[in-house]
Symmetry: C2
Subunit: 164 residues, 2 copies
Amino acid sequence: MQLRNQVEWALHCCSILAGLPPGQRLSTKALAEFHGVPKPYLSKALQSLAQAGLIEGTLGPSGGYRLARPAAEISFLEITEAIEGRARSFACTEIRRNAPCLRADEQISGPCQVARVMWQADEAWRAVLRSQSLADLSATLEAELPERLLADAEAWVGARSAGG
Amino acid sequence: MQLRNQVEWALHCCSILAGLPPGQRLSTKALAEFHGVPKPYLSKALQSLAQAGLIEGTLGPSGGYRLARPAAEISFLEITEAIEGRARSFACTEIRRNAPCLRADEQISGPCQVARVMWQADEAWRAVLRSQSLADLSATLEAELPERLLADAEAWVGARSAGG
DNA sequence: CTTATTGCGGACATTCAATATCTTTAATGA
DNA sequence: TCATTAAAGATATTGAATGTCCGCAATAAG
Ligand code: SF4
Ligand code: SF4
């Protein structure tokens, strides 16, 4: 019951890509260096995001990634699911079918209350993540972080981004 | 991001213990047989529940487990946390501290917005599980399951329960 | 008292997923 | 052409989840 830390990486990377000037791209190398994480491994996470249609990769020199859609249309849930998959956190193995008092021909209708409650909790979790977009995140960060830090980060990223 | 299947076992076992006449106990052996799961492994889950103070074990012949509290005072969340632990699903590794533009002496206040959103989702998940008690589960099951099945299960369990 | 039964706790083996790295290929701009 | 980059896949490494085992202490029944 633990999210992979790739989720954290992905969220931070998307946050940076959201702050890029429109059309600009940033390479895996720069993103890995910025966060201090192994580049080949971060690359896997970015590929998952690309396959999910959240970001776009471009080959060649001055290639890199950029958001495939406006930041306001990308939610925390989409990013999380791109990394973790869409499986529900509670897996139902139907152990009630093993009950010794259950007759072979007897029908059991749908999922039982145990599974329904667990799935309801899962849905509540998803609802919160679905309600938060990358644009919301950027707005909060800009309001909270010190100006110098934002400026320096922008300069650092700007020096390494390319394309249009 | 997947709950252990011990959680499912624990929920079902608690559900059965909740249906026992007051004071009666049921052994690990019977619970394992009923659900068709390996007894030594189920034993681990039941021990976790006992350590969390949700059920009580009694030694000796005719020993076994019973609820330590009324079913109405035991929530899904307590059972889940007894197995899974109380750690939050999103672990913050503070990767923002690796940012190259961050000066050594610079303070970063508390958790950032990324972590706050993830934890908020986690809390929504917990809120649903906290709101459901074992008594609620029993009530729903009694209303939904066919009468014959309930009677047979009660008879099967009754023949193997003991004490008072 | 003796004996069988049961939960308790720890040690241990096994299996599988998460983590991390590497290599090759294809695309692209300089 | 040539250097650079993402894409895709193979492959190690690690660690957690799963499953088993054994000795111990408590307890009730004979
Ligand atoms: S939770 Fe309910 S539906 Fe899921 S396996 Fe257990 S009994 Fe079957
Ligand atoms: S989510 Fe925010 S607080 Fe957590 S590690 Fe990343 S930057 Fe730090």
